[in-house]
């Protein structure tokens, strides 16, 4: 029977092409707008490490002075160098990494490539394993290399392609700021979105091209990128080493809830211990947010993106109401046909399904149009200057959501008209007396 209903639907839709096109455009526009904004929201609010985000945490402590103290306020987002090193060396987590963003001059041996500035990350050995960073060649450096301030470097695929022609460059030398580094690892394509481990330097930007051991970078005074927050009155020549300036990101991996509780207790104890040493004048104020909680706390998704999603779904609702009106008018104009079909044997359910199939056909056409409009909309988003713009692509799940949304939308818009049509009383309609 579905083939018959499909055939009837095609005839009916062909009979009034202007009305059909109007309904398809209404659904297509609504779907296109909704999917475009939803895709952007999904890109922005996605989990960059779905397999392990629940086990990755940002420890926060409060080393600030009593100036401008307001009870209940959030502690610092970043840690000072002394605290970072203390927490790192305590090794109380399954993995831990201290880090900062930076920028270095890359000086390729190949004279054909001019020296250029590259984004860098100065970090410690666990960074790669903790964040599941994919390697194409080699690996990260060891803890011993950290301690030895080794001149090791891990490079991105992009840099490897540019400087070394994409081959296995492990063991080769790369000159950074006039210092020779040994390439120990080459990453595969890696661009976590958002750039969760350091939101200070572009939330959806590309990953760094160069990864250098933290102490090596500090020793060589390599250029630092990011924000720094200092307190107290004493000025210092080297704020990087100051206990009164927070500027480093510290992440830990805690694999069980018990370890999370223990780590919170450790942060409390650490605060007490530091107070005993004359620091941490404020009451203990520690936090341990996991990755997704951290992104939420940092309000990574711009509020206007959420607003756009609401607006586009409101627009979809308006489109649907219009489609419902058009379908209602169209279906009820066929009351005579419904009455005849009912009189010669169609049940209410059969009439209902017949009209629902017609509504579904409009939905399929609307889905196709909506998909094309969404692709166009996302192309438009990618032309924008924002750092997340280039990420706006329709992936397979969103494709499925588009189709389901369009079908649900059209069936929903067909439900009332089809119901009204099948409620036509044949006796009244056919009355000729």
């Amino acid at each position: 029977m579905f083939r018959y209903y499909g055939w009837l639907a095609a005839r009916s839709l062909r009979k009034n092409p202007a009305l059909t096109v109007l309904m398809v455009i209404a659904i297509g526009l609504g779907i296109g707008a909704s999917i475009t904004t939803l895709t952007v929201l999904r890109v922005l609010s996605g989990d960059p490490l779905p397999d392990r985000s629940a086990h990755l945490f940002v420890p926060q402590i409060d080393p600030k002075s009593m100036d401008d103290f307001h009870p209940g306020e959030e502690p610092e987002d970043q840690v000072t160098y002394p605290d970072g090193v203390n927490l790192l060396n305590a090794r109380r987590a399954d993995r831990q990494a201290l880090m900062s963003g930076g920028a270095v001059v890359v000086q390729p041996d190949n004279a054909a490539i001019d020296p250029y500035m590259a984004e860098a990350r100065y970090t410690t050995t666990d960074f790669f394993a903790m964040f599941d960073v994919p390697f194409r060649y080699g690996s990260g450096w060891s803890a011993a290399d950290d301690d030895a301030h080794a001149r090791d470097v891990v490079i991105s695929k992009k840099l490897n392609d540019k400087v070394f022609g994409g081959g296995n460059s492990v063991g080769k030398t790369l000159r950074l700021q006039s210092t020779e580094f040994r390439v120990v690892g080459v990453l595969d394509a890696w661009r976590p979105a958002p750039h969760f481990y350091d939101l200070n330097i572009g939330r959806y930007g590309e990953s760094e091209e160069v990864f250098v051991p933290l102490e090596t970078a500090l020793e060589l005074e390599m250029g630092r990128n990011g924000s720094m927050n200092c307190w107290g009155n004493e000025s210092t020549d080297k704020p990087e080493r100051s206990p009164d300036c927070s500027w480093m990101q510290f992440w830990v991996q805690l694999d069980t809830p018990e370890k999370q509780k223990a780590y919170e207790a450790f942060l409390d104890n650490y605060s007490d211990e530091q107070r005993g040493l004359g620091r941490f004048p404020r009451p203990n104020n520690v936090r341990l947010r996991n990755l997704m909680q951290w992104l939420d706390y940092q309000k990574v998704v711009p509020s206007d993106v959420r607003l756009q999603v609401w607006l586009s779904f409101g627009f979809l609702a308006v489109c649907l109401v219009n489609t419902i009106g058009l379908m209602l008018a169209k279906f009820l104009r066929r009351s005579g046909e419904v009455a005849v079909r009912r009189a010669i044997g169609a049940s209410r359910r059969e009439v209902f399904v017949q009209f629902l199939v017609e509504a579904g056909a409009v939905g399929v056409a609307g889905a196709v149009l909506g998909l094309l409009l969404a692709l166009l909309g996302l192309w438009g988003v990618r032309q924008q200057p924002g750092d997340y713009a280039s990420l706006a692509h329709l992936d397979l799940p969103m494709l499925l959501i588009t189709v389901l949304l369009a079908l649900a939308a059209s069936l929903l818009s067909g439900l009332l008209p089809a119901w009204r049509a099948c409620q036509v009383a044949p006796a009244l309609q056919l009355k000729s007396d």
């Binding site: 079909r341 009189a343 010669i344 044997g345 209410r348 059969e350 056919l430 007396d433």
Partner: protein, 236 residues
């Protein structure tokens, strides 16, 4: 074939209850051709709607082909309409967007018949009414008489036990009306049971039996004087 006993049908508003049929009893035997006559508003169309299971009675009982059908649900009534009843309407009620072939096909579709079986039945039904050459025409391309013959073919295609005709010649000129009536008589001679509602005493006279309805009640049952073409009404 059709037996209604003490049937009633009332329509209730907030202030008044109006009876369209009251204590209405009738029996139509298999193979009979019965004409139901009466003035406008007498209840003959309501009777036809209940007989065709398009409406349910308020009271009384209705047996069709030996089955009590007075309290059936919508699905069951649809199945019986589709399987046992053929309708012929005054306004033909063909679906304008479908050609003749597809119009006759409609009731067969709801029976889930195979394509070959449907094709055979459509061919036979249209052959019977003399329109097999016009299968691909649309209703608007046919005369009124031809449209009514298509409607009759549609009713016949499903081999119904009972044909219900509501003023089948009401929208036709005399010549076409005669042709349609002749067709109905032929169908009856072939064994069909026909109940026809009509204003027209000339048509009623050509039925086997007349039933006169006034104010929702049967006032007379009698053999129609088949030889007299000018009988206007049969009174007790």
């Amino acid at each position: 074939m059709l037996k209604m006993s003490h049937l009633s049908k009332s329509f209730r508003t907030e202030v008044v209850e109006t009876y369209a049929l009251r204590d209405f009893s009738i029996e139509v035997r298999e193979g009979e051709f019965v004409a139901v006559t009466g003035p406008s508003g007498s209840g003959k169309t309501t009777f036809l709607n209940i007989a065709g299971l398009l409406e349910t009675p308020t009271g009384g009982s209705y047996e069709l082909d030996g089955e009590d059908v007075s309290r059936l649900g919508d699905d069951a009534r649809s199945r019986i309409r589709n399987g046992k009843i053929g309708f012929i309407f005054q306004a033909f009620n063909l679906i304008p967007d479908l050609n003749i072939h597809d119009n006759v096909d409609v009731p067969l579709r709801y029976r889930r018949m195979s394509g070959s079986e449907r094709k055979r039945r459509i061919g036979e039904a249209l052959e019977r009414v003399g329109l097999s050459a016009r299968m691909r025409h649309y209703p608007a391309e046919l005369s009124g008489g031809q449209q009514q013959r298509v409607a009759i073919a549609r009713a016949l295609a499903g081999s119904p036990k009972l044909l219900l005709a509501d003023e089948p010649t009401g929208n036709l000129d005399t010549q076409m009306a005669r042709a349609v009536m002749q067709l109905l008589e032929e169908i009856h001679r072939d064994g069909a049971t026909i109940v026809m509602v009509t204003h027209d005493p000339e048509l009623a006279a050509r039925a086997q039996r007349n039933v006169h309805v006034i104010d929702g009640q049967v006032v007379d049952l009698g053999e129609a004087p088949r030889l007299h073409m000018n009988v206007t009404r049969v009174h007790a």
